[in-house]
């Protein structure tokens, strides 16, 4: 076993220790011993010892495997090849122990036995596979019903919040939507044909428990259109301190309905007369705050669906973006054709115009929102902006003048004219 004096420091302390766990495995697998050895060296030298990835994969797929080689293969022969396999996780990360054990069996057989539960995109990440083991490992996986996720210029494994499986606020079936969209785009997941990566994430309500707005090119966030459902007697119970705020998850035990709920409503659309809570639902922006604090008294409405937002990604190249609203409300019923269809329209336009390694959000910034909306046939809606432009630098197209000539005040697009 390699000496790891620095890493040993990380065995103590109350938080579960990855070093302890890896050491258990190192006793069985020499490559894990080498992994610890190389990591120790990185800790000493404050530098990585992994080489720039190479291209490896399984037959017929162009994605899902990240090539990884040590730059110290002589010292750590177990790390000569140490590739990542991304395995597409099940919706909302539910497992039967049988399935999870099968995955462990396969991974113990073909790889290092080291994994991430889960990767930051959501996949099951198998860390440390030799090139020659990729194909057999893949065969065993598919035989048990598992498939590989995305990497490179391809779609990524979509993910979703626990939604209707265990949450009272889900405004649509996030698990099924995630599953169906994943199935629909299998080709694009496995065969890089986009300009860059493309991620989907599904959250059931504006709490956005999978961080869709920040971490998915296409973010689907549940919402309701009608009125928040109120149980006034439960409101009174909260007011009386009989029910704890936020289901008991807060640092205070009693809710001050005026100060904690009404005064903090961002749209100031609530009022409380000491007995009755009133919501001016037309002005509610469904931020979830009041519902979050009083889950037994308030619930989203029943006319539900999702808002579609587009474009988020990390800061490479021009700074991080969050997704922005492109469709304020979409019905979300299986088979989710509308969202799949929109997905196709978006990726087609992007594939046609995007530069290499240009996320769809960056492409829109480059070509303009109008070019995008016209191409994917979405009307301009005020919900998509926080505020209209302040600069006076706007364009007019012949189509606008034609519409004007026909007596229409403004041109949008045939089919959804306003005048």
């Amino acid at each position: 076993m390699h000496k790891t004096p620095m890493l040993d420091h990380l065995e103590s302390g109350p938080w579960p220790s990855f070093v302890k766990d890896l050491k258990r495995m190192a006793a069985q697998k020499s490559e894990v011993n080498d992994l610890l050895g190389q990591l120790e060296r990185s800790y000493r030298e404050k530098i990585t010892h992994w080489k720039h990835g190479g291209i490896v994969g399984v037959l017929g797929y162009g994605s899902g495997i990240i090539g990884r080689y040590s730059d110290l293969p002589e010292e750590f022969p177990g790390l000569e090849h140490f590739h990542t396999m991304r395995i597409n996780h099940p919706s909302a990360w539910f497992y039967s122990t049988q399935a999870l054990r099968e995955l462990c069996d396969i991974w113990d057989k073909h790889g290092s036995g080291v994994l991430n539960l889960h990767g930051s995109t959501g996949d099951i990440i198998f860390l440390g596979c030799r090139t020659e083991a990729l194909e057999p490992c893949f065969a065993d996986l598919t035989a048990k019903g598992w498939d590989i996720g995305g990497s490179g210029s391809a779609m990524r494994s979509p993910s979703c919040c626990v939604g209707p499986a265990r949450c009272e606020w889900a405004c649509y079936d996030t698990l099924e939507a995630c599953y169906q969209v994943t199935q629909e785009f299998q080709f694009d997941l496995h065969r890089p044909s986009y300009p860059y990566k493309f991620k989907y994430k599904f959250s059931g309500c504006p709490n956005d428990c999978v961080a869709a707005v920040a971490r998915a090119d296409l973010s689907v966030i549940g919402v309701w259109k009608d009125d928040i459902r109120i149980d006034q007697s439960a409101v009174e119970a909260y007011a009386a301190g009989e029910i704890k705020p936020r289901g008991g998850g807060a640092h205070v035990d009693k809710l001050d309905i005026q100060a904690d709920v009404v005064d903090l409503c961002p749209t100031h659309c609530m009022s409380w007369d000491g007995r009755k809570l009133t919501i001016d639902n037309k002005n509610c922006n469904h931020c979830m705050h009041c519902i979050n604090l009083m889950p037994q008294a308030l619930r989203p409405g029943t006319e539900t669906g999702a808002t579609i937002l587009l474009g988020s990604h990390a800061p490479i190249l021009e700074g991080a973006q969050m997704s922005w609203v492109i469709v304020p409300f979409m019905e979300m019923e299986p088979p989710f054709d509308e969202v799949k269809d929109l997905g196709y329209r978006i990726t087609e336009w992007w594939a046609e115009h995007g530069k290499n390694r240009e996320r769809v959000g960056e492409l829109i910034m480059r070509l303009g929102m109008r070019a995008f909306l016209e191409a994917v046939e979405l009307p301009p809606v005020p919900q998509s902006v926080i505020f209209p432009r302040s600069n006076p630098f706007f364009f007019w197209k012949q189509s606008d003048f034609d519409a004007e000539a026909k007596g229409r005040k403004y041109y949008t697009k045939e089919g959804f004219d306003v005048d």
Binding site: D21, I47, T48, V114, L117, C161, L175, P206, M288
Partner: protein
């Protein structure tokens, strides 16, 4: 033979992984309670009750760890479990009687429960020195160090609101730290060193040049080299050139380090989602326990806990008191690096009002 291969089947349908009680009450949940830190109770319109016990996981685990969890799930949960979007594990208890025995065994095994409500839940993070080629810092080791230090906050609800910490080991930000209450971000501070001899064999020059967002890379004036040069003044060490061209490493054992950004959020509750913003531009990279990083985060968290109003996320607290007060209270020097100078986005960060405090 190729015909026999199974491909493009996608993941298994989640339906087969749902415990029966969830299947029966799918979409029928009425409300939830958090019975204690780490223990959720969801009540269905049918009256059914589900108990979920959430525990910490280092995320970087082995099959041994996974099998341990399976054993517990078999024993107490009819063979079902799940993981959360922040990599905690959850035991789905359909039979209330199993709750206390499960908790007891978890305690014995040293698997801490928590991560609910007004807590610091698990740190979303990335590969670091364990598996990536571009990190400025390790991931798992810093996470372990920070969570050991903040452990009291994982299994309690004592904070003014939820606090989400995330870590990314380089500017690619795989931890998607850009909207976190507290973001730990590995930063390089060395321009790429061009390995001319390698470059001409492994890199495409136009792509390499195009990769640089600041236009710092130019063809090498000595054409015979078939390489590039970097205008170091213009380089802000993003590493994007290295992603495209392995002959441009930008690592340095001493200059790399940690930046801390704060005040981001994702949920729409009260305030819209917000980006995290630079609090400390650089802290030395100090394995194995990164005491300066741990200390800085504790300081920020403590000041927040003292100063925030009920329900205020870190970004909401700072928004209310003002960034100038945040720097003062946390005793963090304000430097040139804090002031955005990245192209035109910068303008929106400059104060064009008298709305500041002395």
């Amino acid at each position: 033979m190729a015909e026999e291969r199974i491909t493009d089947i996608g993941p298994p349908h989640y339906g087969q992984f749902l415990p029966p009680l969830i299947k029966e009450n799918y979409g029928k949940w009425k409300y939830h309670e958090i019975l204690e830190p780490g223990v959720l109770k969801h009540v269905s319109e049918t009256g059914a009750e589900l108990y979920s016990v959430r525990i910490a996981s280092p995320r970087l685990v082995t099959t041994l760890f996974a099998r341990d969890l399976c054993d517990l799930a078999d024993k107490y949960c009819g063979g079902y479990l799940r993981f959360t979007s922040r990599h905690n594990a959850e035991f789905l208890v359909s039979d209330k009687a199993q709750l206390e025995p499960l908790k007891a065994e978890l305690a014995k095994m040293g698997l801490p429960k928590g991560g609910t409500g007004h807590c610091v839940t698990s740190i979303v993070h990335t590969q670091g020195w364990v598996h990536c080629h571009t990190p400025a810092i390790d991931a798992s080791g810093i996470v372990k160090s920070v969570m050991d230090d903040l452990f009291e906050y994982f299994g309690s609800h004592q904070l003014p609101a939820q606090v989400r910490i995330a870590l990314a080991c380089c500017l690619n930000m795989c931890g998607a730290v850009h909207c976190s209450d507290i973001a730990i971000c590995g930063v390089h501070r060395t321009p790429p060193k061009v390995l001319h001899d390698r470059l001409r064999h492994v890199c495409e020059i136009p792509t390499t040049i195009a990769a640089c967002p600041t236009g710092a890379i130019r063809p090498h004036p000595d054409k015979s080299l078939r390489s590039v040069i970097v205008n170091e003044e213009r380089c802000m060490y993003c590493g994007n050139c290295y992603t495209m061209c392995p002959a441009m490493p930008c690592f340095d054992t001493e200059k790399g380090g940690v930046a801390i950004l704060v005040g981001g959020k994702v949920s729409n509750s009260k305030h819209p989602p917000m980006f995290s913003r630079l609090a400390v531009p650089w802290i030395p990279n100090n394995p194995p326990r990164w005491p300066e990083v741990v200390g800085t985060i504790r300081r920020i968290l403590t000041k927040y806990a003292e100063g925030a109003n009920k329900w205020e996320r870190i970004g909401e607290w700072i928004g209310r008191i003002g960034w100038e007060k945040f720097f003062e209270i946390c005793d963090i020097p304000f430097t040139y690096q804090h002031i955005d100078d990245y192209k035109f986005q910068a303008y929106d960060t400059y104060r064009t009002s008298m709305h500041f405090k002395f």
